[in-house]
């Protein structure tokens, strides 16, 4: 262990020396940070807004005097909704642009494609989206919800409402499959019933059979991990089959304010969602944040959970750099998990030792304007658990 530490500090010394040699005159100049989201392709609609939120945080920090006395220079790259592009652009940002850290990523595929790049270069990625857990890389800060911060609080809420029979519907890829595995384990553990579990291909639009099975199974509530456009087809065909969200509630894990707007609020009104942030959160920090974002991007702009996580990531990075008194990624990530609880638009947050965010979970119900009425919140911020205790017993994140 000592040897390892020595190795690291020796490498750091070499690194610092070379940085000092190359850029001794630049020490007071701007420091570069990467922003890597999909600006084109199918994910662009969601990721462009996260980029906007990340850039807004960087601008605010610059206006307030920068970090360690230096201004930030954001280098924006386009991941083009393609995991391979994400990994290439990450390498480019780190190796050509010499960014000290990167904010970005959305899909699990994009994160998994970038992870080896960050490991190889020993740089740090700040990832803003809820995901399926089962991963803890020392080179990634995971601020989006772990399963125990979004899916399980939603189950807690449903159990408290007296729902006993659950139907799980999802798109066919890693997040829904893992989420439903965890849900099934917990539903069985509580001696409740899973009435059915169905998957449709990503982007699939025919739900006739799924709805027939739902009608035959007569569940109390549907938990949906459907993604993207499949949601529109699902809700439309549900309505056409005479099933309304008031008689059979639907809890979704991929519908936020923006998706609700795009789908048409009247289609999804009355359905439920679980997130760590809703635009309707009534706190001074959130009102200031929403107002600032609307001032910049128009009064119709909506704010979503991943955007706020992107915004928080930038501020957490700043605080960690100031605590570590260096931009070195290894020192920064060690400082980041030692920060005190800090206020944010979504309430008090802090990174746990496993580099995931301690945060509050909320359940909201969609109104006719596409906004969520918050109907439940976890009593306290929830500590992140990358590996579910029941579904993946014995697995933990190795200390980093």
């Amino acid at each position: 262990m000592d040897l390892f530490r020595k190795g690291v500090s020796r490498r750091m010394a070499v690194l610092l020396a070379s940085v000092a040699l190359v850029s001794c005159s630049k020490d007071s100049g701007p420091v570069k940070v990467g922003v890597l989201q999909s600006l084109t392709g199918t994910m662009a609609i969601s990721e462009v807004t996260v980029k906007n939120a990340e850039l807004m945080a960087i601008e605010e920090i610059n206006a307030a005097g920068g970090v360690l006395g230096r201004q930030l220079e954001a280098v924006v790259e386009d991941g083009a909704s393609d995991p391979v592009t994400f990994s290439q652009k990450a390498a480019k940002l780190i190796e050509s642009n010499k960014v000290v850290t990167v904010f970005g990523g959305w899909t699990s595929a994009s994160r998994k494609a970038m992870q080896p790049v960050f490991q190889r270069t020993n740089n740090l990625l700040w990832y803003p989206v809820q995901f399926e857990g089962n991963e803890c890389s020392p080179n990634i800060m995971y601020s989006g919800a772990q399963p125990n911060q979004q899916i399980l609080p939603a189950l807690d809420w449903a159990v408290a409402q007296g729902f006993k029979n659950y139907f799980l519907v999802g798109s066919d890829y890693v997040f829904p499959r893992t989420a439903n595995l965890i849900l099934k384990t917990h539903i069985a553990d509580r001696k409740l019933a899973t009435a059915g579990e169905e998957y449709v291909p990503l982007g699939g639009a025919d739900f006739s059979t799924v709805i027939a099975k739902i009608q035959a199974a007569k569940p109390d509530i549907i938990f949906s991990t459907l993604n993207g456009d499949s949601n529109v087809a699902f809700f439309k065909q549900l309505a056409a089959a005479g099933v309304s969200t008031t008689t059979l509630p639907v809890m979704s894990f991929s519908i936020g304010e923006q998706e609700a707007q795009a789908m048409g609020p009247q289609l999804v009104q009355g359905s439920y969602a679980a997130w760590n942030y809703f635009q309707s959160l009534d706190t001074p920090e959130n009102q200031a944040f929403v107002a600032a974002y609307k001032k910049k991007h128009g009064a119709d702009a909506v704010v979503t959970d991943p955007m706020v996580h992107g915004y928080i990531n930038v501020y957490q990075w700043k605080a960690a750099v100031e605590k570590a008194k260096t931009f070195d990624p290894t020192a920064v990530r060690k400082a980041a998990v030692a920060l005190a609880d800090s206020p944010s638009p979504m309430g008090g947050v802090k990174f746990a030792a496993n580099q995931s965010l301690v945060q509050t979970a909320y359940v909201g119900q969609l109104d006719t304007a596409g906004q969520f009425k918050i109907i439940s919140r976890s009593p306290a911020p929830i500590a992140p658990e990358p590996y579910d205790r029941l579904a993946f017993p014995g697995k933990t994140c190795a200390p980093t």
Binding site: G41, T42, A44, I45, D172, E197, E198, Y199, V200, P201, G203, G204, A205, D206, S208, T209, V210, A212, K213, Q215, A216, G228, D229, V232, A233, K236, Q237, A239, A240, A241, G242, A262, M263, G264, L267
Partner: protein, 297 residues
């Protein structure tokens, strides 16, 4: 009892899926039957119909909007089809492989154009409120939208049959289909027949787009979702045979719906592909061989 109800319900769902497959496949069958051209951009004609329905029903909501959207989508897609025929396919008529490539390129261009104009997220065609109901038949509840799409499909098939057997253009089409050279020799303007049939097939794709828009979102890639089953229907039905395509659509629709009772949607799609591959092994000419029915176009 529950099992019987589920099976009956799935029978209806299967017919409903069959009607969608057939609507998507009819245009392909028409153009392939007559011109031996495989139009890879056929899915985008579907997409165009969907977007036209979206625009029309945004301007005129309700039942009137839907009644207006059907002819508008037919006309819009037919015009686009006529343009594709005149600009692209006619000039490559002697080189079928090049048509394949050119129409595929066109399909990519049209998808990207839709993405630029309407955005990557799907738009919703809002059906009139009375369509968001279900007809209760004993223990079954059948969505009104799906019943109407079935009716639309049957009407369209009847119309096409009448057109091909009872009208002058139908006579010309059958003549060109039987022997292009001979038809040209006796003075039939085969280029005009080609164009009219291609436009007709495209218009039918436009109608299919409206039907899809009533069930799900219209996205830049909506055509891609249905083009594979449409090709399966055309291949299994016997290339170019309308009666064969109809039979194949019903077989595939019912098979996939029944399979879905036991497996989930993803697996059912795999089983459907396996069925088609096995079927083609034993009957390469399809359900009904082309040239064996007067309905052939």
């Amino acid at each position: 009892m529950d099992g019987v109800v589920l099976a009956l319900g799935q029978g209806f769902n299967g017919l409903s899926v069959a009607s969608l497959y057939l609507l998507a496949a009819l245009g392909l069958a028409l153009s392939f039957g007559l011109m031996r051209v495989i139009n890879m951009a056929h899915g985008e004609l579907l997409m165009l119909g969907g977007y036209i329905a979206y625009l029309v029903m945004k301007a005129v909501p309700g039942t009137a909007g839907l009644l207006l959207a059907l002819p508008a989508a037919f006309a819009g897609s037919a015009l686009m089809g006529a343009a594709i025929e005149a600009i692209l396919i006619r000039r490559l008529a002697a080189r079928p492989l090049d048509t394949l490539l050119a129409t595929w390129g066109l399909s990519l261009i049209l998808q990207q154009a839709a993405r630029n104009i309407f955005g990557p997220i799907g738009v919703e065609v809002r059906a009139p409120a009375w369509m968001n109901t279900a007809v209760t038949l004993g223990p079954l509840s059948l969505p009104t939208t799906r019943i109407l799409i079935l009716v639309l499909c049957v009407l369209l098939l009847g119309g096409l049959a009448l057109l091909l057997t009872r009208t002058r253009i139908g006579l010309l089409v059958r003549a060109v289909n039987q022997d292009r050279m001979m038809a040209a020799a006796v003075g039939i303007d085969i280029r005009r027949v080609d164009m009219v049939m291609f436009a007709l097939g495209s218009g039918v794709a436009g109608l299919a787009g409206v039907a899809l828009g009533l069930l799900g979102p219209v996205t830049p890639t909506v055509g891609q979702t249905y083009i594979v089953p449409a090709f399966l229907v055309v291949v299994m039905g016997g290339l170019g045979s309308i009666a064969g395509s109809t039979a194949a659509a019903v077989i595939l629709g019912l098979f996939s719906a029944m399979a879905q009772i036991f497996v989930d949607v993803s697996v059912a799609q795999v089983l459907m592909l396996v069925l088609v591959i096995a079927f083609i092994q034993f009957r390469p000419q399809g359900v009904l061989a082309p040239r064996s029915r007067a309905l052939d176009a």
